[in-house]
């Protein structure tokens, strides 16, 4: 009997979700994270959940893991010391970056420039030059390369990268450096730009290659350590990591290509939402993942999440496929304040974080946060389930009162104001990925998860007109669910940069087939049989001269049938949807990508017993909360006792171990067959 285990390591908790592929049963578990060595927390969790399910680690065939280890290495500047070899004349490519200074007119006065990921003193030039057609203009020189490698070796770099001008068209010089590096610096991990990212734009390609090299040692150590511990605990199954684009890759592949892991964390939530959406019969979903300091949002259309070609981490914008997740600095810990000069009410992006945290947590926080406002308003009951944790409502009130005083309004109005503003910030992020991309949010449901998502999902759905508002089953461990339920994925990309009238179907197809063979071979090497592999293609198209490409997915049959003309027609349609106009300019085929996908997990979500529609058996107690300008009577329910078909009239609160769902006064939540709560306006 096969078991799949999804594990998501967060800042505070490690979440686990174990699936029994045979029965469809599942178990979930939360255990404190162990930041000094995450594998300890993971192992604790594995042992606990196995005991709980009555299995041994040896029975787990698939260990699937979303991790922020690469992200944190970048954000905290803890990457490896990277040596960089560039073309003569380009030593400062990382120092100059793109000359961009954020922050508007005069923003340079206050901008702290980040230090390049590869230090200038570890960057060296070599002779040799390719032109923009990939022809060699000047030969490179072995002696010069050796000299540079010796210097880097002497300086003690921990990883090596090579990024030469126009290498995306011809990697011969980079390969020569690799050959010599194997002699001079054996054992030092090497990343070549034409391998990591064979695409135009020297800064982005260099940055991506350097970022990859920079996180390689840390990710490598992490993965090897985890693998050893798991093997030690008797787990013999495969270990895969979640990529930023929502697919899985083997732990071995992630050691080589960790740049694909930078958004691994948030991707888990989106893939989890995808799985829930399928079970709930929803096709179009906006996701709202509300954490302590920030909120991640993403768009899923027709059960396919939107992907982008850049991964944004901190100040870095790396070229690696990623789910289109936008992050705003608005979360439960976001601090509310009133600046002296403007007397405006601001919420975030400063956050109280986990320490000292909101005032209501009683861990030393003194500044009013979103969580405190939720407590004051009665949306977060003082006593959570199990009674292990009690919220300090008086402390929260005192803190929010400072805001009320500064604005000259009442306590409850101030608290509600904080919530309205944080909701509005989430709304702004959701608009960026929906309306701004030409999607009508009224055709989407909104799914709230993470610790605080289900608290805000109803109000934000109202702003968006996105119904139903969904509180998924186990919203607190949705990332682990996503880790457990997604599929293997790999891709490769190539710059093409030609007008449509300069190429034809045959040429494009030949390249795509070659790329498909390459990606299928990668999955085959992971032990997936060829029959289980699906290939997809993506073409990036634009009007010649535009900076923005529209990615179009296509398969070989469709391309054969409709030809490039069919691609053009789809581009025009998509361009009009995005920007409201078309042009009679020539079209350019910019990039080609091939994606290979492993088998889809066909797994029925477990069902709840069916009730009579009345949630009374799940009622815990009566309650009062702030709604429509006054305190109103409400009811608190225990989520574990709800049955399928129960209809919960608002205002109501549904609590569980790690999350709280708020149903507003003029809405009602219906429990579906799998335990998801679908909230709609009472009509």
């Amino acid at each position: 009997m096969a078991y799949r285990l999804g594990v998501d390591v967060g800042g505070t908790f490690t979440d686990l979700l174990l699936f029994d592929l045979g029965s469809g049963g599942f178990w979930r578990h939360k255990t404190p994270s162990t930041p000094h060595d995450s594998s300890e927390g993971i192992l604790n969790g594995v042992n606990a959940i196995c005991a709980h399910a009555g299995v041994t680690p040896a029975q787990i065939d698939f260990f699937l893991h979303g991790t922020t280890v690469a992200t944190n290495a970048v954000l905290e500047g803890k990457g490896a010391r990277v040596g960089l070899i560039v073309t003569e004349g380009y030593r400062q490519v990382m120092q100059i970056a793109r000359s961009f200074v954020p922050g508007g007119l005069a923003g340079w006065i206050v901008w702290p420039k980040p230090t390049p990921l590869a230090a200038l003193e570890d960057t060296f030039e070599i002779p040799g030059r390719m032109d923009a057609q990939g022809n060699e203009v000047r030969a490179t020189d072995d002696a010069a390369i050796r000299a540079v490698l010796e210097k880097l070796k002497a300086q003690g770099v921990e990883a090596l990268t090579v990024s030469l001008m126009n290498a995306y068209l011809n990697g011969a010089h980079e390969k020569r450096v690799a050959e010599l590096a194997a002699e001079v610096m054996p054992g030092v991990p090497l990343s070549l730009s034409h391998v990591v990212l064979p695409e135009m734009q020297e800064y982005e390609r260099t940055l991506t290659t350097v970022a990859n090299a920079s996180v390689r040692p840390i990710v490598g150590n992490y993965v090897r350590n985890l693998r050893e511990k798991l093997r030690g605990a008797g787990m013999a199954g495969s270990l895969s990591l979640l990529r930023s684009d929502g697919g899985l890759m083997s732990s071995e592949k992630s050691e080589e290509h960790p740049v694909s892991l930078l958004m691994s964390g948030p991707a888990g939530g989106v893939t989890g939402a995808l799985w829930v959406a399928k079970a709930a019969g929803l096709k179009n979903i906006l996701t709202l993942d509300v954490g302590g300091t920030s909120t991640d949002v993403a768009l899923i259309e027709n059960l396919e999440p939107r992907r982008v070609r850049t991964t944004e981490v901190g100040h870095l914008s790396v070229r690696a496929s990623s789910l289109d997740v936008k992050t705003v600095g608005a979360g439960g810990g976001s601090i509310a304040y009133v600046p002296e000069l403007t007397k405006a009410l601001r919420v975030g992006p400063q956050s109280a974080g986990a320490v000292p945290g909101p005032v209501a947590y009683g861990k030393g926080g003194t500044l009013p946060t979103v969580t405190d406002a939720n407590v004051v308003l009665g949306y977060l009951p003082e006593a959570l389930l199990g009674g292990t944790f009690k919220l300090d409502r008086d402390g929260a009130k005192a803190a929010v009162q400072t805001i009320a005083d500064a604005l000259g309004i009442g306590l409850m109005e101030a608290a509600r104001g904080i919530i309205d503003i944080v909701n509005e910030n989430m709304f702004g992020a959701l608009r960026m990925i929906s309306v701004q991309q030409g999607y009508d949010p009224r055709h989407f449901a909104l799914m709230g998860f993470g610790g605080a998502g289900p608290l805000h999902v109803n109000a934000v759905a109202r702003l968006m007109g996105s119904w139903p508002a969904v509180s998924p089953v186990s919203p607190g461990v949705l990332c682990a669910l996503g880790d457990a339920t997604t599929r293997m994925r790999t891709e490769t990309a190539r710059s093409f940069s030609r007008r449509f009238d300069e190429t034809g179907e045959a040429e494009v197809l030949a390249i795509l087939e070659e790329m498909a063979a390459q990606t299928r071979a990668e999955l085959a090497a992971e032990g997936i049989s060829d029959a289980d592999i699906t290939s997809q293609f993506e073409l990036d198209v634009r009007y010649e001269g535009q900076a923005f490409e529209v990615p179009l997915s296509i398969d070989a049959e469709l391309l054969k049938r409709d030809g490039l003309a069919g691609v053009l027609a789809r581009f025009d349609e998509e361009h009009a949807r995005l920007f409201t106009f078309n042009m009679d300019s020539a079209h350019e085929l910019v990039n080609l990508r091939a994606v290979a996908l492993g088998p889809l997990l066909e797994l029925e979500a477990p069902k709840l017993p069916v009730g009579n529609g009345d949630p009374i058996e799940a009622k815990l107690r009566d309650h009062r909360l702030w709604s429509n300008g006054a305190m109103q009577p409400a009811v608190i329910y225990d989520r574990a006792k709800l049955k399928a078909g129960d209809v919960i009239p608002g205002p109501a609160i549904v609590i569980e171990m790690d999350s709280t769902t708020l149903i507003e006064a003029d809405c009602a939540g219906t429990v579906d067959a799998h335990g998801n709560i679908l909230i709609n306006p009472k009509s």
Partner: protein, 623 residues
């Protein structure tokens, strides 16, 4: 004649009370709409100037034309005052002539689209955006002839006209305009992009008004302006004195041999308002370096600098305009008489920011930044390639950010908001060019406790014969240092022929023929230094030596002696003591003296010194 606003529904907006939360929500929503304008533009525009370099500016204004969100301040007021026509539902205004809008846009290359936003028959807001067009005809590719003597030589001039009139598109107008351009495809796409951005923002405004109510929306925009007024009033009272302070700086030359040109500004507070008086600024130039400065734009620049220097948390709109008065003498470099040429205006525009910095920092040197604005250095390269295809490049360069109170100025970065470089691989793919070097110049940043950023050396190898033009400044009068910091190194342009012959080119140059194989070293300015260089940590210089950012010789400007890559502590201490003794007390500003610069010009720059301009009387032509 002011414009006539035609509304089917002219009910005035009621002033209604707004709670602080709604106000914040509306402000947020407006800010998001503005971000959406930028995003739409960048994704749909086509010319490298707009899409890669971000040379375009969005604005959302209230129904009276006052900017609520945006960047360069509202030009709608001056436009409405000068527009002899109607503003009606379904209209969209299109213009490019600076003289028709009181300098609200400053050269004819900037095309501006203005969309009055109506809801239920009532004017509720304006959205607008202008962006730099690659070519609008005229005597040179790129349409910015530095040696122009009248605006008629600078390409098509578009007075305020309606591109849409009550919902009807004027296709003939667009055809006529596009016919004047050497790059009609880019201009068409860029114009489409400007229009699409304005429409997106207009939709958002209407949605907002529908969501909150029209009166709430209008009252909220009033309050947002008022909030800004209050904040700025307080800032002015605490930061600007009643004593007059003056500052002057120079444009190096006018491209036809004369210079430098002085810009002078005097600032003081009077009855709670700030006066900015440009009396003492040199008269207008016979060439194109004139900058038709709109008073509102100056207020905006002033406001932004106040905020950035003293309190970056404040958000920004037109609300504080009544607190500032700007006086610009007519016929001066900053208010030239029609039809003076304007296409070289970027130099004076850049210089204003250095002057603002110098003015604001005089009373509070700890807030002072060094100088860094050259302008935005332009390179044009155009011709016909082997296959008979026309190519035309317009590129903006970057240089050293000044030394700042918070630290060193970044090397080779942009002082302009949102600008980025064009990737060199992109240039090489789409133009007959190879970029042989792209690096910053060691020692070019002015020495200081916080040094100025280094300028950039970009070496273009031309692969086809063609013509180039260059617009740059700060090649004669260096960017000054402050609080003991030294000036940055000046800009320089060098053409190296295939046989190795080196030709020093002027920094303002038109229609210069280049051959295939020529290499142009396009070297930009370094930022001025901030604070005493003798106080800089010697270890930092040793590090920067290994980074290639300073040389052993350059380190001596800091009194630091580097031997075999390491600091010689004893020699450093000795040298620093000598330098301290020799220099006397630290001055707030370190300028070059014009007469000394003039005397040494040829030896130091390879170029003859500019000649002191002779002022002519420019009669104002009848329009």
């Amino acid at each position: 004649m002011p414009a006539t606003i035609v509304q089917a529904n002219s009910t005035p907006f009621k002033t209604v009370p707004i709670d602080p939360v709604t106000l914040e929500v509306i402000e947020n929503a407006l800010r998001n709409a503005r971000i959406e304008m930028d995003a739409t533009l960048v994704r749909t525009a086509m010319s490298p100037g707009i899409r890669e370099q971000g040379d375009a500016f969005p604005l959302i204004a209230d129904h009276k034309g006052r900017m609520i969100v945006g960047q360069f301040g509202s030009y709608i007021g001056p436009f409405l005052e000068g527009f002899d026509g109607t503003v009606e539902e379904g209209d969209m205004i299109f213009l490019s002539d600076p003289y028709s809008v009181g300098g609200a846009i400053s050269h004819s290359n900037d095309w501006l689209v203005l969309l009055p936003v109506f809801k239920d028959g009532r004017l509720i807001a304006y959205t607008s955006m202008f962006g730099h067009q690659s070519d609008i005809g005229g005597m040179v590719p790129g349409s910015m002839p530095i040696d122009a003597t009248s605006i008629f030589q600078e390409g098509v001039r578009i007075p305020p006209v309606k591109i849409w009139k009550q919902g009807v598109y004027n296709e003939d107008l667009v055809k006529l305009v596009m016919h004047q351009s050497r790059t009609p495809a880019w201009c068409k796409a860029d114009l489409n992009a400007l229009i699409a951005s304005c429409r997106v923002a207009a939709n958002r405004v209407v949605e907002m008004a529908a969501r909150f109510g029209d009166d709430v929306f209008a009252s909220a925009t009033d309050l947002l302006l008022e909030r800004n007024y209050r904040a700025m009033k307080q800032l002015i009272e605490t930061s600007i004195g009643e004593d007059k302070v003056s500052f002057e700086d120079y444009i190096c030359d006018d491209g036809v041999g004369y210079g430098p040109y002085k810009i002078k500004c005097t600032m003081w507070r009077e009855d709670g308002r700030v006066i900015l008086d440009f009396d003492g600024t040199d008269p207008q130039s016979a060439a194109s370096i004139n900058f038709f400065l709109n008073e509102n734009m100056m207020k905006m620049f002033f406001g932004i600098y106040m905020i950035m220097v003293f309190d970056p948390q404040i958000l920004f709109n037109d609300g504080y305009y009544p607190l500032i008065e700007v006086r610009i003498p007519k016929g001066s470099l900053l208010k030239p008489n029609f039809p003076a040429a304007l296409s070289g205006r970027t130099h004076a525009l850049g210089r204003l920011f250095d002057i603002l910095g110098g003015l604001l920092g005089q009373k509070t040197p700890e807030f002072l930044n060094a100088a860094g604005f050259s302008s935005s250095p332009h390179l044009f390269y155009a011709g016909t390639d082997k296959n008979g295809k026309w190519f035309q490049l317009f590129q903006i360069g970057f240089g050293g950010i000044p030394g700042r109170p918070m630290g060193d100025g970044p090397d080779g970065h942009s002082l302009w908001p949102g600008f980025t470089n064009v990737p060199n691989e992109f240039l090489e793919r789409y133009f007959p060019l190879r970029i042989e070097r792209y690096e910053t110049v060691a020692d070019s940043g002015g020495a200081g406790l916080h040094r100025g950023g280094n300028g950039i050396n970009m070496v273009y190898r031309f692969l086809e014969p063609g013509v180039i033009a260059i617009h740059d400044d700060r090649w004669f009068v260096p960017p000054w240092g402050v609080n003991g910091g030294e000036p940055g190194v000046r800009a320089r342009k060098l053409l190296v022929k295939e046989d190795g012959t080196e030709i020093v080119l002027g920094n303002k140059l038109e229609n210069y023929a280049v051959e295939a194989g020529d290499q142009l070293h396009f070297v930009t300015w370094g930022g001025g230094g901030w604070g005493d260089p003798l106080e800089r940590d010697p270890a930092l210089l040793a590090k920067e030596l290994t980074q290639g950012l300073v040389t052993v010789e350059g380190a001596r400007r800091y009194g630091v002696v580097l031997v075999d890559g390491a600091v010689d502590a004893a020699a450093t201490e000795k040298l620093r003591a000598e330098m301290r003794a020799a220099r006397g007390p630290i001055q707030t500003f370190a300028f070059g003296d014009i007469e000394t610069l003039r005397a040494n010009c040829e030896a130091e720059t390879g170029l003859p010194a500019p000649t002191q301009p002779v002022w002519q009387k420019f009669a104002e032509a009848a329009e």
